[in-house]
Amino acid sequence: MLQYYDPNKNSQPGQVIDPRRDYGTPAISIDADETVQLVTLSIDGQEVKMPEGTSIMRAAAHLDINIPRLCATDSLQAFGSCRICLVQIEGRKGFPASCTTQVEEGMIVRTQSQETAKLRRNIMELYISDHPLDCLTCAANGDCQLQDMAGTVGLREVRYGYHGENHLDAVKDESHSYFTFDPAKCIVCSRCVRACEEVQGTFALTIDGRGFESKVSAGQNEAFMDSECVSCGACVQACPTATLMENSVIENGLPEHDVVTTCAYCGVGCAFKAEVRGDQVVGMVPFKGGKANRGHSCVKGRFAFGYSTHKDRITKPMIRNNIDEPWQQASWEEAVEFAANKIKTIQKEYGSDSVGGITSSRCTNEETYLVQKLVRAAFGNNNVDTCARVCHSPTGYGLKTTLGESAGTQTFDSVEKSNVIIVIGANPTDAHPVFASRMKRRLREGAKLIVADPRRIDLVKSPHIDSEHHLNLLPGTNFALLNALAHVIVREGLEDKEFIELRCEDDAFLHWKEFISDPKNSPEAMAQGHWSAGRAHYCSGKTLWKSR
């Protein structure tokens, strides 16, 4: 079986997480081969061991001590803005913020005291002095962190009154079809801005002005629809109040429960919580436990779930004898009975091979597995195919032959550790946006990017992303490029000999090496430095494999 990168493999204390909880600040990312320095500290009299670099807030969360907070969330770097999470540390004066303060060996933390309680109450009082008092009719009623915190800290009155300067007259932005932006409820925690920067990487949002005049602005103080917003919904998800709210929730109210499911829109396969009222899906919120998306989404899975209630959707089994007949509703038993009988009849008459099954790239891996199981085990033949054949059969063949498996050889998580990323014949920001966001995050941290594509895709240059090289080769010359690269590697002895010895057949490799060393495969110069980077991530799209 392939080895692959799993950030949870080491199972360090604090590494096993519940995806339904918000731990306040991000987990420390640890390599399988990294030795982690553990630190023991005491919080409210309880001891906990956490990796060095973890915040006190996160450490406390692992003890089920939920330090009150508003601007902290574990999908974003600690910010230190709301000042509600202040705690006391023995031996230190003042009240450090637990989100931005890291754990240290022997630290003794107190998260609750008379002073911290008063401080938190007074800060909440300031927040509420500039906030509408319409909790009961607000779309976030019951799901609002501001409301929660006001309750947690025991706020009872706002001694400043409600006639001071405020933002209650701010105008709503209802330009977007899927969500509403109501600045009157904004607490300027900047979570939306940070989400658009850190998680999505579009940088469509900013804070306009400063001080009390600070307000969230899309683009140059435009409507969301007019800005660079790609409607991924990260800001809506990050917003702790009703400021950014899904229209479906505003209209329908909060869901009663959720079901974890996989989005079928593209090959990334993001995990979502389908939020349900009764039997109706009223929202789709990314699920943090999804290893492909880690809590992020794109517009399709996040908002375009209208298909679930579309009038064209078939919700009851239907059968008919032939294509000229109208569909007739049937019960499940009737339908299954009908289908099974028909298939058996056809096979009896025309032979075992006369039936087959086609699955779809819209199906999940699990669904596709079941279809081929049905065909092989029940139909008794191998007549199963997928529409993905049209685009991916060359991919499948090529990958299987060279790498041994016609699938990605690494987890999506592995992009977080790449030093060099090569994108050939793919346009991830459009086609696989959630993965693109994860990749862009790594690029902003300093990984190098090489794009080989006739198109000037967004990745070549967009805010904070600058490809080291854009090889805009002529269509059809992908192979020449790749062969040229390979030629140089071999000619200069840069191949990973150990890897090849361990994983390749000697004869096959030598045969290929002879071929590739031929000067006719020699390239235009390509910078050597990228190949010595250690870890490279190679991402190819369908266009590469289709060209011949």
Binding site: T206, I207, R210, S217, G219, Q220, E228, P463, H464, D466
Partner: protein, 165 residues
């Protein structure tokens, strides 16, 4: 505004962006450069700056709106910055402020009807030994009172306008 003038404005913006884009953290330097040339930073050129520096329009807008010195609209022919800080308060800047607003008939951040004077607050010009102080262009004035303020304004308004060919 003729198309030529607009085009040359954009060229100038692009030139400034090009000049500074390789230095570390160039945005404020670029914005200062543009405001120096044009008197303000026209919002329509923000996309040019974004493209050149590889930032987003939102980020640039956020930066411009943060710093009180940067303007998104043109100022009057002259900008008078009036110090409102403590040292000047100790020597009567509150009265000066009232007088300035009354005599110019505008409030802070506004321009007189004839487009001559824009009035802005400033917080300390470093002239605290001789408060109250005001700034016009790069010239700082000391011991400013109602009379001397009026004299300065009159001189500004009656300045001959240079006709550039």
């Amino acid at each position: 505004m003729s198309i030529d003038k607009e085009a040359s404005k954009e060229e100038m913006v692009l030139a400034i962006v090009s000049k500074y884009k390789e230095i570390p953290g160039p945005l404020l330097v670029v914005l200062h450069g543009i405001q120096q040339e044009l008197g303000f930073i026209p919002p329509e050129f923000i996309p040019d700056i974004a493209e050149g520096l590889n930032l987003s329009r939102a980020e640039i807008h956020g930066v411009i709106s943060f710093y009180h010195f940067f303007r998104s609209t043109p100022a009057g022919r002259h900008t008078i910055q009036l110090c409102r800080a403590e040292s000047c308060q100790a020597m009567g800047s509150r009265e000066l402020e009232r007088h300035a607003k009354k005599s110019l008939e505008i409030d802070f951040h506004q321009t007189t009807a004839d487009g001559q004077i824009t009035l802005e607050p400033v917080y300390c010009l470093g002239n605290c030994a001789c408060s109250p102080a005001i700034r016009v262009g790069d010239a700082i004035h000391a011991h400013v009172g109602a009379e001397s303020f009026d004299a300065i304004v009159n001189e500004l308004i009656s300045e001959k306008v240079e006709v550039k060919n």
